[in-house]
Amino acid sequence: MSPGNVPPHEMGARSFDDDELDRLLGGHPQPTDQPDELDVFVRDLRSAFPTTPMALEDQHIAAMTDASRLLADKGDPVVRPASNADAPAPQVSWLPKRRRTDMKRLKPILTKGLAPVFALLTIFSGMAYAGVLPAPVQNAVAGFVGADQEDTDDPTTDGLVDDETIDVDDDEPSDDQGEDGDLPGKDDGEANDDQGDDGDGQGEDADDEGDVEGDADDQGEDGDDPGDDGDHRDESDEVQNSDDEPDDDSDAGTDEDADIEPSGDEE
């Protein structure tokens, strides 16, 4: 580089190597270094912006200490906020949203489906209690509820016998005895099922020996709970008594009819 290419203000300027420049900018020039205008500027700059102790040192240290303690306390928070301020909403409020969704699904079902049923039940219950229902329905409801004794003249008569009488008259599907009468020769199977609930299937069950055994199993299960099924046994006994004697034959065909056999003995 010729002197003609150097700007006039850089004619007498020193060139620094990296180490010398580091010492100069770091404020540690060696004594052997010749003073330079840049060196003077660095000293003036340091004196203009001195690294004096901070006036608010105590306040800053106090703020740092508080921040440090807050961070230490964050490790095990005692109470977590219920809001979703510190987490995405789906994570924090998942359960309430699910409940709201379920309630939205159930609400139309409850209002449109169950409410009319409850209303009808309430109306019929009131009418049945007042006794304004038609006589067959009133008797059926009374038998279902167990208040059929009010309708019978003879208080000593068993309600189940009355039901059977009514069922025979009305020829309803749940009428066991009427079906028994309609299906002669199949009474053996039906006689084991005469609990009244399975009236529709009794005629069919009579054809199937397995069903008869299943029914007999049901009786055996009932026998496991003597406290609850004592009435049923009595009812079945009464049904058998009111029915035919051939029940004993069907009972003899099942091994588990020990509960029923004593009724035959009583007879």
Binding site: P7, L45, F49, P50, A63
Partner: protein
């Protein structure tokens, strides 16, 4: 005064919550950071320094390195906060400094010495204004922050070559400004 060999022990104590350790780290770095921020033209230097060290406390778990890296890390946080404060100040009017703070930090004692110091500062600032923003930033970090080329590169998010180039051009601009005779040093 640099902590030197004691730095690791002090940093470990600070991480464990020792107040004395935080004070040592503060005294080691805060004055240089405050001088750098003042030379950058930051008006609320104390606020920025305080925010810087509170941020350091919150993020101390993510730091790893020696004392030079720690200084560079603190200057990085302080520089970023100063930039944020400058942007915020341009969006809203500045709040006046309370009188008690001014009484503590303002000029005290010898009026002549304060006047000379103010005059010398104005001269230095006028020279620095001849530099570009990046050149001034690099030279201030080198001179007032006491950072090396690598540390300045870390703070300014530049590579070492770019920092060297900025430094070289900044020194050249300083020489030109001084030789022009705009100021008398």
């Amino acid at each position: 005064m640099p902590l030197g060999d004691q730095f690791d022990a002090v940093l470990g104590a600070a991480r464990a919550g020792g107040d004395w350790a935080w004070r040592e780290l503060y005294r080691d770095t805060a004055p240089a950071l405050a001088g750098y921020l003042r030379a950058r033209g930051v008006t609320d230097v104390d606020d920025v320094v305080g925010d810087t060290f509170v941020t350091v406390v919150g993020r101390i778990g993510s730091f790893s390195g020696g004392e030079p890296s720690f200084r560079a890390w603190i200057f990085t946080i302080g520089r970023n906060l100063a930039i944020d404060a400058h942007r915020a100040r341009t969006r809203r009017p500045a709040d006046p400094t309370p009188m008690d703070v001014l009484a503590e930090t303002g000029p005290q004692g010898d009026v002549e010495a304060d006047a000379l110091a103010q005059l010398g500062r104005e001269r230095v600032i006028s020279v620095l204004e001849a530099l570009t923003h990046d050149q001034r930033d690099v030279l201030l970090l080198r001179i007032l922050g006491g950072l090396s080329i690598d540390e300045v590169a870390t703070v300014t998010h530049r590579n070492v070559g770019a920092v060297k180039m900025l430094q070289h051009r900044g020194i050249g601009a300083l020489r030109r400004e001084i030789a022009r005779g705009a100021v008398t040093l």
